[in-house]
């Protein structure tokens, strides 16, 4: 379906746009992270309610409404005229699970945000990315009133592959959020199959 990929370094008319997903359960700080590191832009789509799992919706009073508007605000980080990173948060509600497939299609990788007070809300995201083979890191959002847990303990509690980086961060802080994205990209570089002589492809974070 794609047009020519003959020049992989200049995809898309010289403009390369890369998609990173920001995921995790409800209230873990997805929107905060996207807002702290990128220019947030409004986007919406209209979805068929039947596709969106109308069985779980309370449709009383809106019997004639067959589509629902889904807000998909995203963040854009323009790195150069010809290079931009797009951050998409995955919808939190279960009824929008079907959108995860669309969002993860062609994604570079994902950040799963975790809250140590309720790690379980981030399990579904981890399961999803593991099954889909989307590389991800876990970013533990350090809430003020949460007890500190070492990253390795969080990784163990989440039953992660030991190679998956776990980083503790503060979603409100731009530098901290930036470090999360850098950790993901370093991980992608380090885990690339058949990496050539890449001077700076070491795992970091």
């Amino acid at each position: 379906m794609a047009s020519k990929h003959s020049d992989p370094e200049a995809l898309g008319h010289g403009l390369t746009a890369l998609k990173i997903l920001v995921s995790g359960g409800f209230g873990v700080g997805k929107t905060t992270l996207v807002g702290s590191v990128s220019e947030v832009r409004p986007l919406r789509t209209e979805e068929d309610l039947t596709r969106a799992g109308s069985g779980t919706d309370d449709l009383s009073g809106v019997e004639n409404k067959r589509t629902t508007t889904v807000a998909l605000d995203y963040g854009r980080i323009t790195l150069r005229d010809d290079l931009a990173v797009y951050l998409f948060g995955t919808p939190g509600q279960d009824r929008f699970w079907f959108m995860w497939d669309e969002l993860s299609n062609g994604a570079l990788g994902a950040v799963v945000i975790a809250d140590t007070r309720r790690l379980e809300v981030s399990f579904p995201a981890i399961d999803f990315f593991e099954k889909r083979g989307v590389p991800f890191i876990v970013a533990v959002n350090r809430f003020d009133n949460a007890e500190y847990h070492a990253p390795e303990d969080v990784g163990a509690a989440l039953d992660l592959d030991p190679q998956v980086p776990v980083i503790v961060f503060d979603a409100r802080q731009r530098t901290s959020g930036k470090q999360v994205l850098i950790t993901l990209v370093r991980y992608l570089l380090a885990s690339q199959p058949r990496v050539r002589d890449d001077a700076d492809a070491g795992a970091g974070g």
């Binding site: 898309g12 290079l83 299609n105 889909r132």
Partner: protein, 133 residues
């Protein structure tokens, strides 16, 4: 916000009241009743560009949304940004892009498909770009 070429915001046309009311011309009218793109999916970060030289499009056959897309995409533009700039739902935008693509008025470059990874060079460029922010 994006302004149309004549300095008019797309919403300034009389059909709009406010966000709650929504457009009086419903989206299915914009897409002439079609709800599915003629192509399966346009990825959110696919890059669209109007073909060059830009062909004349007959305003009798092409709606203002189609023409606005052609105008915006003289410069390579990402699908998500188009949806945001035009304040059109992605589902509607996909139909319009399908029309333009089927008529050879735009080209579309999709990003990496599953299993396809960006080269280490692009990843390093991203890394350096992020570090320099």
């Amino acid at each position: 916000m994006v302004m149309a070429g004549d300095g008019r915001h797309p919403r300034d046309s009389a059909e709009w009241f406010d966000d709650d009311a929504g457009p009086l011309i419903r989206h299915f009218a914009v897409t002439r009743g079609r709800t599915h793109a003629s192509r399966s999916d346009f990825a959110m970060v696919a890059v669209v560009q109007t073909v060059s030289p830009e062909p004349h499009v007959d305003p009798l056959h092409w709606g203002p949304e189609h023409r606005e897309i052609l105008r915006l995409c003289r410069r390579a533009t990402v699908v998500a940004d188009l949806g945001s700039d035009l304040d059109l739902p992605l589902s509607v935008l996909h139909v319009l892009l399908g029309d333009l693509l089927d008529n050879g008025l735009i080209t579309l470059h999709e990003p990496f498909t599953p299993g396809e990874r960006p080269s280490p060079k692009i990843l390093r460029d991203v890394l350096h770009g992020l570090e320099a922010l």
